[in-house]
Structures are given as C-alpha cells and as structure tokens.
Symmetry: C2
Subunit: 486 residues, 2 copies
C-alpha cells in the first residue's frame, strides 16, 4: 500500500485528521457486515443461520414495516406531477384522492412554484408560516416564521448550528452520554470540545442536573469555553422522555450560565408515557413569569419528518426554530445555509404536511387518524414485547419504554466473554453485537457507539421490525452466548 500511497496526493495519514477522528457507529462496521449478509441472502446463499437481516441499528421505519401516511404521499404525488391536477374527476372517482388532497397540493404548488426549483435559502415562506402556526398550537405561545429554517433532516440543522457555535478548539458543547453520535462526530469534524454529561440510568435515563453542573464546572476549570448544551428529548439512544421539571431545570441552568440550548426533539410524537414537553413552550412559560431572568436565553429546537408516525427519513425534511438569538448571528446562519442553497423542496413540503395534517371533519381525516393510531399502537406494542423479552434475559436490565424508537438495555456479560472480546481487540459490547449479528442476522449498535459509563455495557436496538420472531432469535442467541462464556 505504501508505495502506491506515496504516489498520490491523499493518503490516510495526510487527510483531514478531524474527519478521521470522527466516529459514527450507527452506520459503522456492523452495518456494513449486515449489508453483506443481506446481499448474500438475496443471491440465494443458504449457508447463513438466518434467512433475513433485521436492521435494528437505525431508526429507518419504512425500511421495515411502517407504511407511509396516505394523505402525505397522495399530495406529494401531485406535487411531482402537477398535470394530474387537470384530471380531478379521475383523481376523485377512480384513484381515491380526496378533495383536501387536491386543495393542499394546489396550495403547496402556489407556495413553492415547482418542487424542482430552489426555494428561498431558509425555506419556502408559506411553509415556514405553517410551521409557526403548528408551534403556536403546540405550545400556546406565538412563533415567528423568520426564526424558522428548513433543513435536510435534523442532521443538517445540527450541522449548521454547530458550525456557528464552534469558534475555536476551546469551544465546548455539553452533550449527553449516551448520545446520538451525530453530535460527537460533528464536534470532532469542527475541532471543538465535546463536554460529556452522564444521563441517569437509575432514573430511566433522565437528565441529572448535578451531573450537568459538575461536567460544566470541570470543563470551565479546564479553560473550555462552554457555549451550548444539547438535550435529546425523547432520548436517543435511551428512549427517555423528560418531565416538565427536567426541561425547566435545564433552561434555568442555561440562563444562569449563558448557554445556547440545542433541543433535539425529533421524537416528539414518539411518547408512550406521559406527554411531550417542548423546550420552546417551557422557555416561554418561564419568560412569562420571570421575563428579566429568561429574556435572553438562546434556544434552537429541531424537528424532522424522519421519525414519529411520519417516518419519512429518506425525504430528508426537517427544520429548526431559533428563540433569543442575536439578529446579527441569525444573519450569519442565513448566509451559511444559503451556501448549500436550500433544503430539498419536496422534503419541505412533507414538513408542511406533517405540521398541518388533516383536521377532524376534513375528508382525509378518518384514514389519517386510523393510520397514525395503528403505527403508534404497533410501535408501543413492539416496544413492550421487546422489553418483556429483555426482562427474561440473564444479565440484562432495561427500563420500561417511554418514547422514541429505541431500547437501550444494560448487559452484564460473563468475564470470559470480556476476555474473548479483548483478544479480538473489541470492547465486550461490540463483541456481543458482532456475535448476535453473525448468529441471528439482527444488527444492533453497541453502547460504545453512543458513549456509556465505564464498566457498563449496553446495546441499542430499534423496535421497528414487525413480528416477534426476531426477538425470539435474539433470546436464543443470548442464552447460547451465556452458555458459551459462563
């Protein structure tokens, strides 16, 4: 390799070291191997001990069982081929489109012109207005379209925000551990500091204000310029859903230490227990009671079409809303997003449909409601079935499902398994996940990919795949693994 390498401009030792350091396990080695298994099965290979690969490593609902919502997709079909709108009778009488589908498509086309045209850099104005209306309805406080930025999924919004915030290698951002690795990967690429704070597994992965404070204090003592705190609620990978008090406590801390709050709320409709409390709503409530104290809190909240009952991650639609940001900083955010021109316009339209779905009494409402409820109930059932299975498994403990699309159980493996893992140069959770994939075709992500307290091991699994047969396969594997290494 070295001879060839030296003849080239780029080699593994001279490319951007910050990219090299970035880790993103959700689509790492295990995912690559699982795709190889999938290809082998497709090509008729019968030498594998399973006949199906289950990608439980990534929240990709429509890759598995989840069907798109009819109303959304009917509208999108008309946006892609507007001449269909000239055949209203065929749409209505032969294809099952309802009048509100047609009306919405016409309105969206008026708003964006063509879905093949660039929109304004921060998104089509009419769509930003719909999002503002949705936020007002959700929180009971006004929202301003000028503070809303459409993005290609929430990932691209996070990328924008971190680009603005990270000014030097000493810039620090508080990130929950375990976390979705987008945050640590982006901070690596931007050469800024991740300031980890641990979530409290004993409280079903809730935020622990003392842990946040002590992480902050330690970072400041190390001369890190801590500027922001990331909260993922409902949690990824943990599945936790925060109480109103927890949300308020974070805002109070942010106000006191002048931190930007980055609220990743992409799972806001995936809540099985209690209700979702938005950071924006909590901030405005605090501002109402004590305006002088909270007037200047800077909050960026993110949402997306990728998760929830929408599950349209392939469309790469999302937005973030800013509150309390300096207008001159917002100008720089606008310029930054303009460099990549605009978020995918059909994805923007899907955001509009998500925030402004059919209402009771409208022709598409019944079906919409029914599809929504079926997906919600299905996810909840599967979450509980999986949780029940984990409860039965030796060395495994797992909190009751609360929200998002994941369970994140702790696994205590026998010492011999730890030894065997180290011989392979892997951590024990990686070793366990590799063994599981090899034995069952089920791909999960080891806790190491999200961060975990020292001497604890976890796996993250989605509960999106249909049926329970694959959960049985995991149980069987787990028992055999324990037999082997006991």
């Amino acid at each position: 390799m070295s001879t060839t390498t030296s003849l080239r401009s780029l080699n593994i030792d001279n490319i951007n070291p910050r990219v090299k350091e970035a880790e993103y396990a959700v689509r790492g080695e295990l995912a690559v191997i699982s795709e190889e298994y999938r290809a082998r099965l497709l090509n008729g290979d019968t030498n594998l001990p399973f006949d199906q690969v289950i990608s439980a490593n990534i929240g990709n609902p429509q890759q598995l069982d989840q069907k798109p919502i009819t109303f959304f997709r009917q509208v999108l079909s008309l946006l892609e081929y507007p001449p269909l709108l000239e055949k209203e009778d065929v749409l209505l009488n032969q294809l099952g489109y309802k009048p509100d589908v047609i009306a919405r498509a016409k309105w969206l086309l008026k708003t964006v012109g063509s879905v093949g045209a660039y929109s304004a850099s921060a998104g089509a104005p009419g769509i930003k207005q719909s999002i503002a209306t949705f936020i007002e309805g959700r929180d009971g406080f006004p929202a301003d379209p000028k503070d809303i930025y459409l993005s290609a999924g929430a990932s691209s919004g996070v990328n924008t925000l971190l680009h603005i915030i990270c000014a030097s290698p000493q810039t620090g951002v508080l990130v929950p551990i375990p976390q979705y690795p987008l945050y640590t990967a982006s901070l690596s690429v931007l050469d800024a500091k991740c300031v980890p704070y641990y979530l409290d597994e004993s409280k079903n992965w809730g935020t622990d204000l003392e842990a946040i404070k002590s992480a902050y204090k330690q970072a400041v003592a190390e001369d890190i310029d801590v500027r922001a705190i990331v909260i993922i609620n409902p949690g990824n990978p943990t599945g936790a859903s925060l109480s109103e008090e927890d949300v308020e406590a974070v805002i109070k801390f942010a106000a006191q230490e002048k931190l930007v709050v980055i609220a990743d709320e992409v799972y806001q409709t995936n809540v099985f227990k209690g209700k979702f409390h938005s950071f924006k709503g909590a901030l405005r409530s605090l501002q109402k009671t004590e305006p002088e104290k909270y007037a200047n809190v800077e909050l960026a909240s993110l949402h997306s079409v990728s998760k929830g009952m929408v599950g349209e991650c392939g469309h790469r639609g999302g937005y973030f809303e800013l509150a309390g940001f300096d207008p001159l900083v917002q100008e720089q955010i606008y310029k930054f997003v303009s460099i990549t021109l605009c978020a995918p316009v059909i994805g923007q339209c899907l955001v509009e449909l998500m925030v402004n779905p059919p209402k009771p009494g409208e022709p598409s409402y019944e079906l919409y409601r029914q599809e929504w409820d079926n997906i919600f109930n299905g996810l909840q059932e599967r979450a509980h079935a999986m949780w029940e299975a984990f409860k039965d498994m030796e060395g495994v403990s797992c909190g009751k499902p609360q929200g998002s699309m994941y369970l994140f159980p702790t696994i205590t493996v026998p010492p011999k398994a730890v030894e065997a893992a180290h011989k392979e140069g892997r951590s024990a959770d990686e070793f366990y996940a590799h063994r599981m994939l090899k034995a069952t075709g089920v791909c999960v992500v080891p806790g190491a990919g999200f961060g975990q307290k020292e001497d604890t091991l976890h796996i993250r699994t989605t509960f999106l795949a249909p049926g329970t047969e694959w959960i049985g396969r995991i149980k069987k594997f787990h028992n055999e693994f324990f037999e082997e290494f006991r």
Copy 2:
C-alpha cells in the same frame, strides 16, 4: 445592541470566524432586496418602476420558464404514491402514463424499497449501477459503482471532498477565478487556503496553463501545501467550454504535481459549441497511452440533476465519482457521508432517471426528446439574444455563448460611476448591479462575487428567463446609467 449581546452566549464577535469570513454573493444582499421587491409587487405595490422581478442571479430553471421533463416527473409521482401502480389501466388510458414509466417506477421501488426510507450511505446500489453504466456509455471506459457517491446536489459533494482534503490551515486548493463562490466559501469555512488562478478572458475564459503553473509555484513558495485543483467545465460564471487539449493539459499538470482534480461538470449537457469533454474520459485515455505516468491521478468528477435540461435543483440530487483514490481514503469518505445518513432518496431516483432516460423506440422517447430539444434550443436562443444585446451596449464586451447557463460580460463604466460607487462603499460592479435591480427588477450578480482581475468589472446573468422584454429593460437602464455618469 451591545447590552443585549453581552447577555447572550453568541454574538457577531464570538461566533465561528470562518463562517463570518465566508462570502456567497449568489444569494447575498441583492438577492434579499429582490425578494423584498417581489413581495411588494405581490402585495399590489405600484410604486416600483417595473412589474416583475427577474431572478437572473441564480441558475434556477424551474423558477423561471423551464418545465420539468414529463417522463421524470411521472415516474416520481408513482414513487411517491405506489398504490397508483395498482391502477395501471387508469394510468395508461386516462392519465397518459406510458408502460415504460410504470416499469421504471416498479424497478426503482424494488431498488430503494420506499423513497421514505434511508438508503445506504453512499446511495442505493441499483442507482449507483445505473450511473456507472451512464459513465461507461459517455466515456467509453468502465466505471465501478463502488466509486460513486450520491449527494444532495453537487454542492454537498464538493463539501464532502473539501472536508477530506483540507487537513490544516496550510492546505491549498487551486480555484479558478472567476469561480462559483461555493468553493471559496467552503474553503473559508474549513480554514484552508484558496489558491486562485485566473482564467483567460481573451480566450473566452479558457484555462491558461501558464496561469495555473504560476499560481501553484507562488503558493508552494509561500509554504502552502497545494493538494487539489478545481475545474468548472462548462464554466460558472463564465460559460466557457473547454477543449480536449485544455482538459488533458490540466490532468498532465495534476499528475506531475500530484494534485487531486475536482472536476465540477454539472453543466455537461449545456454545451452550445463543440462537445463536452469529460475529465474521466480524458484521464482514462491518457492512462491507456501512458499508464505508468497517469496511473495514480486522483480525480473526483461531479454531476447533478440541478442544471442542464433536467433543471431539477429543488430536488437536490447529484453524485460524484472517484478515480485513483486510495481505498483507505475512500473509507473515510464513506464514513463522512454516513454521518448525514444519505442523500434525499427521491433526488437519487431523479439522478437515475437523468442518467438512464427513455431510449429510441421506447414509448416515452418521442416526448422526452421533444421536451429536451425545446429546452436546449430555447436556452441557446436566449443566450444569443442576450449576447447580441450586450454587443450593442456601450462599454460592454462579452464572448460568444459556449455553454452552461450564464454570460459574464466585462463592463467598463465611466469614472464618475466608480466615484459614486466608492462613496456608497461599494465596488463599481456592485453599484451597477444595485442600480440595475432598482431600475429594472432584474437581479444579477456583480463579478466581485466570483472574483475578477483587478481593475476589471463584470456581471453574471443567467439567460433562463423567458422572452426578451427584460433584456430590453437592461439595455434601457444601461444607456441611462451611462448618460447619468458620463
């Protein structure tokens, strides 16, 4: 402002300085003002001296006259709402869909599963195979799907490549001047060095190898680690179309100095004069004759659905192909793109349709051909009409249209105009463009936004807007401007 600012975490003086330094004039102040004018006209304002805003600042075909290609959009409508495929008779007999539309939609759905699901990080395998087949047909040399990466438009591909290449503040990338400002903006954000080389206006903006060599030499003398050279062919903003010799000369230089070649070929079908010569084809030809000399040239070529007769920029579809890259570097590129999960899947499908359009004899071919030719001829006619207008204007000189979507005339304004511009703190071309927008509603980009030789002034205008009335408005403004400042 300062009191408020100090209460916040972020202000204009402490955010990422590299973002602050980035400039992106294509959607800068003029574009913002033009949108304000557009909103005023929509609200019935009659106090403006024009009744229409023409966005000639950006290559956004479908915002103006260009209609989408029917075949593409019919397929996309089926991908968005697959239950339509259960009504083949309605599609065929009442909605004018042809059998090849249905067949393609079925094939694409088999390939991607659902357009609402994430694809593999670098794109759906079947779509990468289609792109490889297209490249083989275009160049006459094999292409490998594993070297192809789908992206959200070409912009996102450029962002990926520069992220890998830029390792330190001393990393340099040769960029043509004038250039599309994505390159300088991205290099600013990445804290790397733009090494400008001037294109030769006297040769209709062709590459000038001597200029490249001298820019390279000077940069090396300044201890800059020059690693790559960007070529935009056909040119943006210049409209130039390179000869085979020019393309080969750049590759030879890159081989000699071990530079990665970044070939931005998004306008490859917008060629009015001669033919398009791909860098990939030229590289493989050179490798055939002198393998030992060119075996290790690293080439990344980019293409997109945004331009050409496709003009689907709102869909954010594109790809880049790598040749000669170290496999370990490619692994890092794969990891980097996986952090943002995947390019929009409907955009990926549109890339597939673009590279694999209906063929002669297939049911959709006639209409496809006709639509394609109409767009092509319309663009060529408008380019020539505009060029003729520039020829008649005092102080303006402009090369004959060759390709892309732009003309980039030189304008020599009277000294009094330069003075008046400086009083406003603007360069003379910015001043001229602001005056033009105010008088005509036509938004163009001053040459300063792309870079230009000292003491020369240009504007970039697209020739996408329909009709010639607006060209007349520009002429009238220009004459009055010269009268005022003579």
